[in-house]
């Protein structure tokens, strides 16, 4: 069982988001980068599966040399080897195409991604990869079981969950509840230093989208406080001022 896990470096969840260069770039000054939380779940589940059934876990990141600490962390958590595609990606389509090309000479039974990256919030890479590589897709899953060549997963749907199954190879995207994320231990950190990290080049000029500017949401006008003793007044305000109820 060979599993590929796509790992995106993202700003820590507590980061205060600010922009630079006339609001055209995310300001990375002083920002701590982490493994996208959903990708951490995908990686942990991949390790659990290979530990039970044999096989290897490869992590792949599309990013510049600055993303290597994140890749080393994934290796410290337990991934067997890693690939970095040397490119600062512009959009999800470019990420997916870069991954497709980088692994063209390898074969994976399972490709796992996160359900979305917490910076782009695209939620697109899994679906794009499935289509580009002609694989089955199960999006936003909270459970993955592999039995022989069949994968059974539970995916989120509006207002509930659906259990689905398909033959391998398949692309699945991890949702919270999939497993408890693993934290690297000392031995893992030591071993990670000597694990293989292959760097591949990728260049593609045309991409479909580009960000022209960023904007922060407008500030709230300030809260209108209502006395707890007359709490019922809130209902009246929502009705008369906001016409909501």
């Amino acid at each position: 069982m060979n599993i590929l896990v796509c790992v995106s470096p993202v700003p820590d969840t507590t980061t205060k988001i600010t922009f630079a260069d006339n609001n055209t770039k995310f300001n990375t000054n002083g920002v701590q980068f982490i493994i996208n939380p959903y990708d951490e779940l995908a990686l942990t589940r991949a390790l659990e599966i290979t530990e039970a059934q044999g096989g290897e876990v490869t992590v792949i990141t599309v990013g510049t040399a600055g993303t290597e600490p994140i890749i080393r962390k994934a290796l410290a958590i337990g991934a067997h080897n890693a690939i970095r595609v040397n490119l600062d990606p512009v959009d999800a389509m470019q990420v997916a195409k870069a991954i497709q090309v980088a692994v063209a000479d390898k074969s994976f039974d399972l490709i796992l991604t996160g359900r979305e990256s917490i910076d782009h919030n695209g939620g697109l890479v899994a679906g794009l990869l499935a289509e580009l590589m002609g694989m089955n897709l199960i999006n936003v899953v909270t459970k993955i079981d592999v039995d022989g060549t069949t994968v059974t997963a539970v995916r989120d749907i509006d207002g509930g969950r659906e259990t689905v199954s398909c033959e391998l190879p398949a692309v699945l995207s991890a949702q919270k509840d999939l497993c408890e994320p693993r934290i690297p231990n000392m031995r893992g950190i030591m071993q990670a230093r000597t694990k293989p990290l292959q760097v591949v080049e990728y260049s593609e000029s045309a991409t479909g989208t580009s960000v022209s500017s960023f904007e922060l949401p407008p500030a709230k006008e300030g809260v209108k406080l209502i006395d707890a003793a007359n709490a019922g007044e809130l209902i009246d305000l929502l009705r008369t001022e906001k016409k909501l109820i």
Partner: protein, 317 residues
């Protein structure tokens, strides 16, 4: 032609798809184009002309009786080829998000997900999308001839266009599904959180699952869905499907009432684009008040019953 995917659930059209259709219709009017509604699997007797369609196309076939990303993307591809569609609008639901990227590759289209407002077509084609977990927006230029846009539910108004749509049907010619549905487990009889216009949410301040009766009662009277903070679903006080925030569901209701929730940045990430936010918390320093429109500093166990009582009075008045 602009094509809009119309998602159905138990035979009825989702409101989020009607929002997508209104978006497509307004975009068509803005660019002098036409807008088609695409139904997959079954026809509908709803007048989609009034919802903005110049045309409806239904793709029928047994392969489309249950949802799979593969067959539905193939059916949409077939529809878009028949319609000669260059722009495809899909609501950002779980199913919509599974179809959209597959379809983008098939149509050789650029794709932007999580779009929150109408396209700017004054120079080129650009849209605004939510990013950094609702902490910011990006204006995204979309290049090329073909594009797929996924629209966040509750970002666009449904309205009456008064058009009459011509209707046609084609048989599905794509592949059979290779992903099989084993079982579906849906929360019955409740308003799905992702579609709710009003939401009553509660956090650890409620002390325990036995105290949720008043939260459900308030939600019931208002016709709202219920939600909760992460620790509440982690402790199994409430089902996972109610967890909102950075690692839960992102929602954008017209009203979000937060009871006993501190307003941590990861919680706000999932709810901060709600149109009106009301916060009830004993602690006047709770960060949630900074993101609120209305606030009550007080004990939930005293405040919520008062809200229920007033809502009941108004209902019977």
């Amino acid at each position: 032609m602009i094509a809009v995917y119309i998602e159905t659930d138990g035979g009825s059209i989702k409101k989020s798809s009607l929002e997508a259709l209104a978006y497509g219709a307004d975009l068509a009017a803005q660019t002098g184009d036409q807008c088609a509604a695409v139904l997959l699997g079954s026809t509908s007797d709803v007048n989609l002309g009034d919802s903005g369609a110049n045309k409806t196309l239904t793709i029928t076939g047994d392969a489309l009786s249950t949802f799979t990303a593969e067959t539905f993307a193939a059916a949409m591809d077939q529809a878009c080829a028949e319609l000669d569609a260059h722009t495809i609008i899909i609501s950002n639901t779980y199913n919509g998000k599974s179809i959209a990227p597959r379809l983008a590759v098939k149509r050789n289209a650029a794709i932007v997900s999580g779009v929150v407002s109408q396209a700017d077509t004054s120079t080129g084609f650009s849209v605004r999308k939510s990013c950094f977990s609702n902490k910011a927006f990006a204006q995204v230029a979309v290049n090329g001839e073909n594009r797929v846009i996924t629209l966040i539910p509750n970002s666009y108004e449904v309205k009456s266009f008064g058009l009459s749509a011509s209707a046609s049907t084609s048989a599905y010619v794509g592949p059979q599904a290779t992903v099989k549905s084993v079982s579906i487990d849906k929360v019955k009889g409740k308003i799905p959180l992702t579609e709710a216009e009003l939401v009553v949410s509660a956090g650890r301040g409620m002390k325990g699952p036995e105290n949720w009766g008043m939260i459900e009662e308030l939600a019931d009277i208002l016709g709202a869905a219920t939600a909760c903070s992460k620790p509440v679903s982690d402790m199994d006080w409430r089902p996972h499907s109610e967890h909102v925030g950075q690692t839960g569901i992102t929602i954008k209701p017209n009203l979000y009432i937060a009871v006993g929730i501190s307003g941590a940045i990861q919680h706000l990430a999932g709810v901060s684009s709600s149109k009106v936010i009301c916060v009830i918390n004993t602690d006047p320093e709770a960060p949630f008040f900074k993101a609120a429109d209305y606030g009550i500093v007080g004990d939930a166990f005293e405040v919520v019953p008062k809200l229920i009582a007033r809502a009941k009075e108004l209902k019977t008045a």
